[in-house]
C-alpha cells in the first residue's frame, strides 16, 4: 500500500465535496458568533433543513409538478426558510429572553433531531432517494486530467459554498453591516452608544446562521447523499461549531479548517476502500481526535469575540 494508492485525485475531490455542509454551517455560525451569539443548535437546524428540503424535492419530483431544476431550487428555498425560522427562534430565546446559549442550543438541537425524525417517519417512512443536484459539466475543464476531477466535477451547491467564503469575509471585514456585527460582538455597550441596535444585529446574524445551517442540511439531502434518514447529519453541526473556534472566527481560516477536517475524513474513507489494516473504528474516530487536538493548539483564542454567549443588558 503506497501513498499513491491513498492520495488519489478522487480523495481530494471527495474532500471538497465533504467540506460543503461544514462550510455552509460554519460560515453561518461565524456570523452568529462574531455578533456574540453561540448557536449550538446548528445540528438540529441542519436536520430540519435537510428533511424539509428533501421532502419538498421528493413531493415535487413524485408529482412531476415541477421540472427537476425547479424542484431542486424549491428544496433549497424551503431549507433556507425553515433554517431562518429556527434561527429566528434561537435569536428570540438568546437575545430577547437572554437564555443561557450553551444549554438552549442543546434544546434546539434535540427539537430539530426529534421533529425531523418524527416528520420523516410519518410522511416518508423508509429512506427514499431523490434526484439531487447533478454534477456540472464544464466545457474543456471537466476533462482535464486530475485537475478536472478534483475541481470541475461537482454539483452547484459545492461551488456556492466555496463562493460564500470570500463573500462572507468581505461582508464581515469591509461592509458597514460587518462592522456592526464585529462591534456588537466585541463591545456591545459602545455599539449601543453609537446607535447600533445590538438586538437587531444579533437577530440578523443568528437568522443568517440558521439559513446557512438549513442550506448545509439540504446540501447533504439533495446534493451530496440525495436521501434523508433519521439523524442524517450525525453531529456534523457540532463539528461546524468547533470549526469556528478552530478557525479563529475568520471565514478563510474557518473554511480551511473545514477542508482539513474533510480531507482527514476522505482519507479515512479511502483507507477503508483499499482495505488497509487499520480498524475502521479508529479511522472514523480520527477526525474527532484531531479536532480536539486542534482545539488544544488553536492559538487564536484571543480573537474570540469578547461578548460571546453574553446577553446584552443596557445600562449596567
Amino acid at each position: 500500500m503506497g501513498l499513491d494508492e491513498i492520495l488519489t485525485a478522487s480523495v481530494f475531490a471527495s474532500a471538497i465535496r465533504l467540506a460543503t455542509p461544514y462550510i455552509f454551517a460554519a460560515l453561518g455560525e461565524t456570523f452568529a458568533q462574531r455578533s456574540g451569539v453561540l448557536n449550538l443548535g446548528v445540528d438540529g437546524m441542519m436536520l430540519m433543513g435537510a428533511f424539509t428540503g428533501f421532502y419538498a424535492v421528493h413531493l415535487a419530483q413524485q408529482g412531476e409538478t415541477l421540472s427537476e431544476p425547479a424542484s431542486l431550487l424549491l428544496g433549497v428555498a424551503v431549507a433556507l426558510v425553515v433554517g431562518a425560522l429556527m434561527g429566528l427562534a434561537m435569536a428570540f430565546v438568546s437575545v430577547t429572553l437572554k437564555a443561557k446559549q450553551g444549554i438552549s442550543g442543546i434544546g434546539v438541537y434535540l427539537f430539530g433531531l426529534g421533529l425531523s425524525e418524527l416528520l420523516f417517519q410519518q410522511w416518508v417512512g423508509t429512506p427514499k432517494s431523490v434526484n439531487g443536484f447533478p454534477r456540472i459539466e464544464f466545457p474543456l475543464l471537466t476533462d482535464l486530467p486530475i485537475v478536472g476531477e478534483i475541481f470541475f466535477h461537482h454539483n452547484l451547491l459545492v461551488y456556492v459554498a466555496f463562493a460564500l467564503v470570500p463573500i462572507s469575509a468581505y461582508v464581515l471585514n469591509s461592509t458597514t453591516f460587518g462592522l456592526m456585527i464585529r462591534a456588537v460582538g466585541q463591545n456591545p455597550e459602545a455599539a449601543d452608544a453609537m446607535g447600533v441596535s445590538v438586538a437587531r444585529v444579533r437577530y440578523a446574524t443568528t437568522t443568517i446562521g440558521g439559513m446557512l445551517a438549513g442550506l448545509a442540511g439540504a446540501s447533504l439531502s439533495i446534493a451530496l447523499i440525495n436521501l434523508f434518514q433519521q439523524n442524517l447529519t450525525a453531529g456534523q453541526g457540532f463539528i461546524a461549531v468547533a470549526l469556528v473556534y478552530f478557525g479563529g472566527w475568520r471565514p478563510w481560516t474557518v473554511a480551511a479548517g473545514a477542508m482539513l477536517f474533510s480531507f482527514v475524513n476522505a482519507l479515512q474513507l479511502q483507507i477503508k476502500v483499499i482495505g488497509a489494516d487499520i480498524p475502521s473504528e479508529f479511522a472514523v474516530m480520527a477526525p474527532y481526535v484531531i479536532t480536539i487536538i486542534a482545539l488544544v493548539f488553536a492559538t487564536k483564542r484571543h480573537e474570540q469575540p469578547t461578548a460571546l454567549t453574553k446577553p446584552y443588558e443596557r445600562g449596567e
Binding site: 430565546v93 443561557k100 434544546g107 439523524n231 461549531v241 474527532y288 480536539i292 482545539l295
Partner: protein
C-alpha cells in the same frame, strides 16, 4: 404574639416564593405539551387520546410503572452528574460518552471477576465475594466515566478548550471505542465467527445487580418486573450529592466557581481544580449510569453500532432531567421519573396511534428551551426580592430599582 404571626407570615411568603420559582418549570412543561398537541393535531392524532395512551403506557400497570422506573434510573444517574457540572459552571454534554466508557470498564471488571474461582475453604464467603464483584464493577465504571469527564475538565482548565465542544467530540470517540472493543476482544465468544453481533458475553449471576421488589402485597410489588437495585442506588446518591453540594465546603467551592469564577479565584479557591473536579464527578455519575444498565438490566454490553445504540440517549435526557429538576439532585428524582414515563408512555402511544415516539425527543428539546428561557423571569423576581429586603420601608423604592 405579633412578632410570631409576622414570622409565620414571612415563612408563608417564603414558601409561596419558592412555589412561584418552581412555576416557570411547570409553565415550560405546559407550553411544551401545547406545542406537542399542535404537532399531534397536524399529524391527524387526537392529543387527548395520545396523552391518555402515554399515561397508561407509563403508569397504567405494575409492569408499566416498573418500566418507567427502569428507564428513569440511568437518566437520574446522569442527571445528578449534570447537576454537579452545571452548578460548577461546566456545560457537560458528554453524558453519552461517559456512560459508554463507564459501561466498558464496569463490564470488563464484572466479566473478569465473574470468572474467578474462590478457594474451597472460603466457599461460605461466596455471598460476600459476589457483593465485592458488583462493588468493584460499579466503582470501576464510576472511575472510568469520571476520568473521561475529567479529561474534558482538564482540557478546559489548562488549555481553555470549550468543554461543550470537547465533550461532544469525546462522545463520538467513545462510540467508536465501544464498537471496536465489542467487535474485538470483548466480543461474546459464542458470537465470534457466527453472527458477530457486537455484544459481550452474558454476566454470571454473581456479577449481576439483583432485581428489586417492594415488600408490599402478595406477590410483592414489582415482583417479576425488570426493576433493579440501580434505582435505590441512584436515589440514595441523589441525597448524598444534595448534602455534598449544599452542606460541605467541597460542594460550596464547586458552586462558588459556577456562580462567579473571578470572585472565587480572589477568595482563594483553585478554580482550575474545581472545574476538573466537577467534571470528574459528572463523568463518574454518567459512568455509573452506564455500568448499572449493564449490571442491572441487560447483563451484557451490547449496541447496534449507532451513537445511542447502548445508551438510549440517556446522556442527553439526563441534561433535560437536571434542568427540569431545577439543578437540584433531589429535584432530579421526580424529573427523571417523569422523563422515564414520557419515554415508556411514548412507546405505547406509537403502538396504539402510530405516532412515532421520536415526538418525545422534540418535546424534550422544547422543554430545555422553555426552561432556560424562563430563567429571565426568575432572575427578575429575585432581583426584586433582594431590593425589597434592602429597602423594607416601601415598595415604591423597590420598584424603581427593579
Amino acid at each position: 404574639m405579633n412578632k410570631a404571626s409576622g414570622n409565620s407570615q414571612l415563612a408563608l411568603a417564603g414558601r409561596l416564593n419558592r412555589l412561584i420559582d418552581f412555576a416557570p418549570v411547570l409553565i415550560a412543561l405546559l407550553l411544551a405539551l401545547l406545542v406537542a398537541s399542535v404537532l399531534l393535531l397536524a399529524l391527524n392524532a387526537n392529543p387527548l387520546e395520545a396523552y391518555d395512551f402515554m399515561l397508561k403506557g407509563a403508569v397504567g400497570s405494575e409492569n408499566a410503572t416498573a418500566e418507567t422506573l427502569v428507564k428513569a434510573t440511568p437518566i437520574l444517574f446522569v442527571g445528578i452528574g449534570i447537576t454537579i457540572a452545571f452548578r460548577g459552571g461546566m456545560i457537560n454534554i458528554g453524558g453519552e460518552g461517559q456512560m459508554i466508557v463507564g459501561a466498558l470498564a464496569g463490564v470488563t471488571i464484572a466479566l473478569v471477576m465473574g470468572e474467578m474461582r474462590i478457594p474451597p475453604e472460603l466457599a461460605k464467603e461466596r455471598g460476600a465475594f459476589d457483593v465485592f464483584i458488583v462493588a468493584c464493577s460499579l466503582v470501576g465504571g464510576f472511575l472510568a466515566g469520571a476520568l473521561y469527564g475529567g479529561l474534558a475538565g482538564f482540557l478546559k482548565a489548562y488549555f481553555d478548550v470549550n468543554e461543550i465542544l470537547s465533550t461532544i467530540m469525546l462522545n463520538q470517540i467513545a462510540v467508536q471505542m465501544m464498537n471496536f472493543l465489542l467487535n474485538g476482544i470483548l466480543l461474546d465468544p459464542a458470537e465470534a465467527g457466527f453472527n458477530n453481533i457486537p455484544k459481550t458475553a452474558r454476566l454470571v449471576t454473581a456479577a449481576q445487580l439483583p432485581r428489586l421488589s417492594l415488600p408490599i402485597g402478595d406477590p410483592h410489588l414489582f415482583d417479576r418486573t425488570r426493576l433493579h437495585w440501580g434505582l435505590i442506588i441512584a436515589i440514595a446518591l441523589a441525597v448524598v450529592i444534595y448534602i455534598f453540594l449544599w452542606r460541605t465546603s467541597w460542594g460550596y467551592r464547586i458552586r462558588a466557581v459556577g456562580e462567579n469564577q473571578r470572585a472565587s479565584s480572589y477568595a482563594g479557591i483553585n478554580v482550575r481544580r474545581q472545574m476538573m473536579f466537577s467534571m470528574f464527578l459528572a463523568g463518574g455519575f454518567a459512568g455509573l449510569a452506564g455500568v448499572v444498565q449493564v449490571l442491572g438490566l441487560q447483563y451484557r454490553l451490547q449496541t447496534d453500532g449507532s451513537p445511542a445504540g447502548f445508551t438510549g440517549a440517556a446522556g442527553f435526557n439526563g441534561i433535560v432531567a437536571a434542568l427540569f429538576g431545577g439543578l437540584n439532585p433531589l429535584g432530579a428524582i421526580p424529573a427523571a421519573a417523569f422523563f422515564g414515563g414520557l419515554l415508556v408512555g411514548a412507546q405505547k402511544m406509537q403502538r396504539e396511534l402510530g405516532v412515532p415516539a421520536s415526538l418525545i425527543t422534540a418535546v424534550n428539546g422544547l422543554i430545555v428551551v422553555f426552561v432556560v428561557s424562563s430563567e429571565i423571569f426568575i432572575i427578575q423576581r429575585s432581583k426584586r426580592r433582594v431590593s425589597l429586603q434592602e429597602t423594607p420601608e416601601g415598595l415604591d423604592e423597590a420598584e424603581e430599582t427593579g
